[in-house]
């Protein structure tokens, strides 16, 4: 992929993440911002090594966006903060949820679904790409084991590198340790580029 093409994919990703950011704020009824902190083709060995250094107990929703531009999304939250998110989602005072239970798991599942859908909506509307989310799979595990599970797909690798859109969340008055990773497949980047240029996006 050329530098110019990579720029186009980055712009599309930024638009979709901005939309996800608005939707996330509305979901938890709190001002928040999701910022892209890395947009890069990364080597699978290097990224998994990097992630394992920051290892923590986490819960993550893996969502497959199916259709013409297959893309994977991983929404991952430190276990303690997943409890806080559950309180916000259920419109309770933070601190009410004391332990990991089916409601926490379900909150992460639903936030993963809402974020993935909002991203698919941007791709579908803006670039005329058929795209919709599969039901999320929720895993509670080491963050790096969850991350590695997402990497295990040859359709997403070129020369053992994956295109990674890494984000961080900033929520007003509340510290949250959660991240969203977006990984377009090799096919997805091709289709998104074709549609972008077809729409005179350049």
């Amino acid at each position: 992929m050329s530098e110019q093409e990579l720029k186009v994919i980055e712009m599309i990703s930024r638009m979709s993440i901005d939309r996800a950011s608005q939707v996330f704020s509305k979901t938890i009824k709190a001002g928040s911002k999701i910022e892209i902190v890395r947009f890069q083709r990364v080597d699978i060995s290097e990224i998994s090594e990097e992630v394992s250094k920051e290892d923590k107990e986490a819960t993550g929703a893996i969502v497959q966006l199916s259709g013409e531009a297959p893309t994977k999304l991983l929404f991952i939250v430190n276990l303690k903060d997943a409890l806080k998110l559950t309180d916000l989602f259920l419109r309770r005072e933070i601190g009410e949820t004391k332990a990991f239970d089916i409601y926490v798991e379900s909150t992460i599942q639903e936030i993963g679904n809402i974020l993935a859908s909002s991203i698919a909506n941007v791709f579908a509307k803006g670039f005329n790409v058929e795209m919709s989310p599969e039901p999320p799979v929720v895993l509670s595990d080491y963050s790096s084991s969850i991350f590695n599970t997402v990497l295990m797909d040859e359709d997403y690798l070129t020369d053992n590198k994956i295109l990674l859109v890494e984000t961080k969340f900033f929520v007003v008055r509340t510290a949250f340790d959660c991240m969203l990773f977006l990984m377009p497949s090799v096919e997805a980047t091709k289709v998104l580029l074709e549609r972008s240029f077809a729409n005179n996006f350049s």
């Binding site: 699978i44 060995s45 290097e46 990224i47 998994s48 090594e49 990097e50 394992s52 250094k53 290892d55 107990e57 799979v137 895993l139 509670s140 595990d141 080491y142 790096s144 084991s145 969850i146 590695n148 599970t149 990497l151 295990m152 040859e154 020369d159 053992n160």
Partner: protein, 164 residues
């Protein structure tokens, strides 16, 4: 290119990423984190030297650039490097094998189980003694080799730490 440099910096844990092979000698620790991948750890107690490979798939595609990615290329690579380039004697080497979980309950293809089976089979074919096989389950593993003692710390998510 396989990195066969030895890590000797004190107070440093060497993390091993997916499809990577790394080697270290005392006092270093080799560490990795696994889901359906399998870690093959080789240790020579006379040299206090260890190697770890983080295997992602059982069988390599044509022209696979990363020798550590698939069991059929990774296992011969780590054994050959340790016996030929680092001069470990086969009889002094022991293998410890971890990981291979079924992370996605819905997956029809249990890649973790296949990874573990192929690694075990290939290690046996090379005549290396297997000390530990701790594989399977549905949760991730953290494993860490202390090259001074050869002891591997293993913690499966949600379980107590075990030593092998």
């Amino acid at each position: 290119m396989t990195n066969i440099d030895l890590y000797k910096d004190i107070n440093k844990i060497v993390n091993v990423g997916i499809a990577d092979i790394k080697y270290a000698s005392t006092p270093m620790h080799l560490r990795t984190n696994l889901g359906s991948c399998v870690a093959l750890i080789m240790y020579d107690k006379t040299m206090q030297l260890g190697g770890m490979v983080h295997v992602m798939l059982p069988k390599a595609f044509k022209n696979e650039a990363k020798v550590g990615k698939c069991a059929d290329t990774a296992v011969p690579e780590i054994i050959n490097n340790m016996t030929k380039k680092m001069h470990c004697k086969s009889k002094n080497l022991v293998a410890k094998i971890f990981g291979g979980a079924k992370m996605l309950a819905s997956a029809t293809n249990d890649i973790g189980k296949k990874n573990a089976e192929v690694v075990v089979k290939l290690v046996k074919e090379h005549g290396i003694r297997i000390h530990t096989i701790k594989t399977g389950g549905t949760k991730g593993y953290v494993v860490q080799l202390d090259t001074e003692t050869g002891i591997v710390m293993c913690r499966i998510f949600g379980q107590e730490i075990e030593f092998f």
